[in-house]
Symmetry: C2
Subunit: 293 residues, 2 copies
């Protein structure tokens, strides 16, 4: 496994890999990350490994998608450990550019997705610059790597929707593959930010997956009122002193709020636990009604 | 020569052409147009023909880059005549999509270039939506055609700079080739809008290339003051009742205004003649000074 720093080196390394594996039609699978790899990332790598002859992973803590300098500064960086984990999971090539490689002097271009996909939930909480920064860097990475498939986790559900929209809209010739949220044994969704939680904070944070599980269970038991489901979630969050930034019940593609769960719904939560902002979600389907099919 | 309407048909037709010509490494040259082809467009086709095995020309009157509905409505459309001209000049494939093919229901993505390249001159006159619309559609067309080279006329000098910036910034793997402005025998820069000029308006419009020629001549004679060069241009424009929207002397890459011509300068004019908005420009170099090399 090799690590390259520039787009020119990346292209050269890809050409070399293509030459050695199924020349001419080797498929490239791509996992973009901000490093601090955990098993969620590695599950994306394993999915890429199943689909593609060549697996590329990028590590780039993209400054333009951080709307808080303190969050950018605190974001964990551990490239040597990441390289070992990536190699173990079957990555062929790491692309780990410096910021100046992706945003050289005079850089002026932004890719934006308009509308509720970027204005609501994370967009409302973190500002529109967050998704502009993310969409722009993902466009640049997809054009640099030119993969057949690229892998994104369902944990960042809204990011996944924005990427799918942008790739379809611009006609970027990459298939976007959504992968399930990876969780620790205690239920907490894996996130690079989890290492910043104290033991006590982590205990409190577990109320988030428990609230999602409770909502899922109530729905399975026949509850369809979002007001009732919201109360059930809040009854679990409140004792853990978690006051969510949002606790949303929205359609899973357009992110339109709903009052009753008649079809699939995305239940998404964002909350600060201590200094750490966590997000999680579940896609809910209503229990089949007796009188319906 | 074939005309295709969808991105899927385009990809299929390109694969077929690649199969018949220099399989594996046929170079694709691309000329994006809004149709109403004239010899300016055909000079771009001839340049593409020299560089590439396969020449693709697109015809798409892009609604998102028109900031005036009347201008969009009045823009000439003559696809049958365009196809004959394109075939005669050596185009292999015309891509002429409907608006709904490029902007389907739910479309939400914009590519923007920030800063003076888009805020000044045409950007100030036509609004920022103009260059956003242009940058977005050119990105989409380049990703659809995936050409090695794409050809743009120097007449739209600012458009060329925006495209160069965006292609470099996003890392679109296409080389942008700038081609000289094509002119009629009387000096008027070729434009699809020229057909809307009456004979009398056309006569007045000739003051624009004459003003640029006068500025060029004064500069060759040693004049370096922009104030003096501007007066010389205005003395030619005023009798033709041309009150320019802008008459700018700016650096040719950053579009920074200058007061004296010490290095290469872009002199750019936009003016309405009757109902028709015309643009033209010249790249000026100062006369070599005796005491300098």
């Amino acid at each position: 496994m090799k690590t390259v720093r520039t787009i020119a080196e990346l292209r050269e390394a890809l050409a070399e890999l293509r030459g050695t594996r199924a020349p001419g039609d080797a498929r490239v699978g791509f996992v973009p990350t901000m490093g601090a790899l955990h098993d969620g990332h590695l599950s994306l790598v394993r999915a890429a490994r199943r689909d593609a002859e060549i697996v590329v992973l990028s590590i780039f803590v993209n400054p333009t998608q951080f709307t808080e300098a303190s969050d950018l500064d605190a974001y964990p960086r551990q490239e040597a450990a990441d390289a070992a984990l990536a190699a173990g999971a079957g990555v062929d090539l790491i692309f780990a550019p410096a910021a100046a490689e992706l945003y050289p002097q005079g850089y002026a271009t932004t890719v934006s997705v308009a509308g509720p996909l970027t204005a609501t939930l994370e967009g409302a909480g973190r500002g529109s610059a967050h998704f502009d920064g993310m969409a722009t860097v993902v466009t640049k990475l997809l054009l640099a790597v030119q993969p057949h498939t690229a892998y994104f986790g369902q944990k960042d559900a809204q990011q996944l929707l924005v990427v799918q929209r942008m790739v379809a809209d611009l006609g970027i010739p990459t298939r976007i593959v959504a992968c399930p949220t990876a969780r620790d044994a205690d239920g907490l969704a894996l996130s690079s930010r989890n290492v910043r939680l104290s033991a006590a904070e982590r205990e409190r944070a577990l109320a988030i997956p428990r609230a999602l599980a409770e909502v899922t269970a109530r729905l399975a038991a026949g509850e369809r009122s979002v007001a009732a489901l919201r109360s059930a979630a809040e009854e679990i969050l409140a004792p853990a002193q978690i006051d969510p930034e949002y606790l949303a019940f929205v359609t899973p593609h357009a992110l339109t709020p709903v009052d009753t769960v008649d079809e699939e719904v995305l239940c998404a939560i964002a909350a600060r636990v201590g200094a750490v902002r966590l997000i999680d979600n579940a896609v809910l389907a209503p229990a089949p009604a007796g009188e319906k099919e």
